[in-house]
Symmetry: C2
Subunit: 432 residues, 2 copies
């Protein structure tokens, strides 16, 4: 009976696993050096939990099920609701600011597309308890710190930054009523994704006044912060939001990452829950979906039954990132070929026991070693070592009586006889 994997999922053979580990290890290393602590939650939660933040429409994108106790559960499509639940549970004992990261495996019951699978990994970083824009800067810095670390240059990726606060005050100034904002965000988020006439048609449906729609599209394509008041009109809220963006940019410059950043008022983020700075990371030519994105969500903890505590964060999935890294030839270059350090072969069955002993001793120093399981001919064993992409082959033969073994460099083919004690002295893990 032949069985297939479920569509939209991935099998990670050792080669693919090496890529996945390299990406995730990078996320973890960069998070830790930027002062984030790791957390994780369960793979499934109560279904209703995912509706609080993202509304009923998320339910269609969920893998949901009932357990035997009749509980309605769902595989997590994101980790932010779990973060809110966990932080609220221990809100009084957690010192602030809370700087946490996670690399959850997430699930979305969507049709698989390029860069969008039904099962994926997502790097999440969040800072909770800081209302100052410095926290937004720190989140964006950490995001760029990773992109820089893996070799992506400002010519490869752009962090496009905007502000929900500015967007909201600009739209209000233009004359949009507060109650219309949430539904408008969903459309404005598609400004660069839809053909412009389709976008304008949809915009006219929501905003019939053509003077207002002109101002909105002019705002979305504004090229400088300073030009915005001229488009949408002055008021203190617009000024304040522009000031905040300018301050963010100053901080990013001081942090040394401003060359990756640009303002782009068309960055809206679809979800209703953002409240301040928002940003998305795109491949420069913008031919791929967003590599990642995030922003400020000051009301989420409150919406999950906790106190009102400011928060800002970022999420980056592994699928689009991997496509981008592969396209820029940054994967092959950085990922070590699966390589075993040593393979221990023996010239005759009588040396089998000694081969086991030497293998175990090599392993105990921390180096990876295999040995031949079969009393096959030496050339067959060397072939096996070569298939296993081993760096060096140890050959146990009659030299063992003089306490020596043969070390064969599998890259150069060079062979030399070495005393066992000397061999192990040089393996000393302290010297690695």
């Amino acid at each position: 009976m032949k069985i297939q994997p479920v569509k939209g999922t991935r099998d990670f053979y050792p080669r693919e696993m090496a890529v996945r580990n390299w990406i995730i290890d990078g996320w973890k290393r960069v998070s830790v050096r930027n002062g984030f602590e790791e957390y994780d939650g369960p793979i499934f939660e109560y279904l209703k939990m995912f509706q609080i933040k993202s509304g009923d429409e998320i339910v269609e994108q969920l893998f949901s099920f009932e357990d035997r106790g009749g509980r309605k559960l769902a595989l997590r499509p994101e980790i932010t609701p779990t973060l809110a639940r966990m932080v609220n549970q221990q809100i009084n004992s957690l010192p602030r600011p809370i700087k946490w990261f996670s690399v959850p495996r997430l699930f979305r019951a969507e049709r698989p597309q390029k860069g969008r699978l039904r099962e994926f990994f997502q790097w999440n970083i969040d800072i909770i308890g800081v209302d100052d824009v410095i926290a937004d800067a720190e989140v964006i810095f950490t995001t760029i710190d990773y992109l820089r670390e893996v070799g992506l240059k400002p010519r490869d990726v752009r962090v496009k930054i905007s502000s929900r606060k500015l967007l909201a005050s600009a739209l209000r100034n233009i004359g949009i009523s507060k109650s219309k904002l949430d539904s408008l965000y969903g459309l404005l988020d598609k400004y660069t994704k839809l053909p412009s006439d389709t976008f304008e048609e949809l915009l006219c449906e929501q905003v019939p006044d053509s003077n207002m729609t002109k101002k909105i599209t002019a705002f979305l394509s504004a090229e400088t912060l300073s030009g915005i008041p001229k488009i949408v009109g002055c008021n203190p809220e617009v000024d304040e939001a522009i000031q905040e963006l300018a301050c963010l940019y100053d901080l990013l410059r001081q942090m040394g990452v401003s060359q990756y950043c640009e303002f782009d008022m068309s960055i809206v983020r679809g979800l209703a829950y953002y409240t301040g700075i928002v940003f998305e990371v795109y491949e420069f030519a913008q031919e791929l979906r967003a590599v990642g994105g995030g922003g400020r969500f000051d009301n989420l903890l409150r919406d999950f039954g906790g106190p009102q505590i400011p928060a800002t964060g970022m999420g980056m999935g592994d699928c689009v990132l991997e496509i981008l890294l592969r396209d820029r030839k940054l994967l092959e270059k950085n990922i070590p070929a699966v390589q075993l350090e040593y393979f221990v072969a023996f010239v005759d069955k009588e040396f089998f026991q000694k081969a086991i002993e030497i293998t175990m001793k090599i392993r105990s120093t921390g180096y990876a070693a295999n040995f031949s399981y079969k009393a096959a001919g030496l050339s067959k064993q060397i072939k096996q070592a070569s298939e296993q992409k081993v760096k060096k082959c140890i050959i146990i033969g009659s030299e063992i009586e003089k306490n020596q073994l043969v070390v064969k460099n599998m890259t150069t083919g060079e062979q030399k006889t070495v005393g066992i004690d000397k061999f192990f002295a040089e393996l000393n893990p302290e010297l690695r």
Copy 2:
């Protein structure tokens, strides 16, 4: 709206995450040095896949659901079926022996109990393509290599070894018909878990002949291999199986781990699919469930539609292991307190920009660093550094004009003024 986690799942706050990472990192490190390569599969697979190996009874223990396309899917309760599927898919291109490991997250819809949760991690190692008992020895060695590495001694854990081949031939010799073996295994597996009178009652139901039941219980409690033929009678198959166990023990001795091992004929493993050596790892006093277990399953790949290729492997979950490690005080000792290397404080707002600059430079050397997000008083910043369990605090003040900063050791309280260049020269990651 307050939301609870689902029962039988765990929230991993940074402290619990550190434990999980330490356990999993150990599993990975030991696997790699013993020559295993990492793989993984999807979290969910077709429901029917899990029935092939474990029969219909497994379905009750599964979290199963339908996707929008009407596919019957289930969260994986084990990874061996995925392993069989993946190996079969690429059977012609994979060099043998295949030595693979994985640390899958698994799910069982059971009532949560001590050491048994609905969501857990399990270390799996498997060797495919070797019929010799050397592969079984290698799997047992690698298992013990991990136990030894985390500080568990032979007085803490025992690897109890038996043989399905011996069990089958002994039962046949005693007079049990071949067709009855599979159902009998399920019962014999409970020999040490059930009260002895309950066990004997159930055994009599399956085997009415009291002479035969006596031989079976005598066999299960046999103290030496050599005594077994006297109990069950001689025949070539019994002899061969005993020889194989003796050979396995010799290998484990040569590998230096026999002090952790003992024969125990009552180790049966419930599942029908084992075909040779079987073993389980128990805490010495056997007050906990098995820490792990495994054995040979030479028919599994064939049952999954592939060729008949021999295989042997082991699985070890994180729940019982963690209880054991905590009980033996091996967790606190080995897991580093969550510690940030540096916290950068500043004596006045005018030094904020310099503090950012120094923080970013520390991070770029690979060390973890945070800085104060607020222009709070210095003592408040130092308090924050202390809450973050930081090792050293960098204080930026007027010394910066002379290119100096203050380094405060947060353990000893000692403070010294250091030149910036000297500070960074000593941070050189090469010297770490």
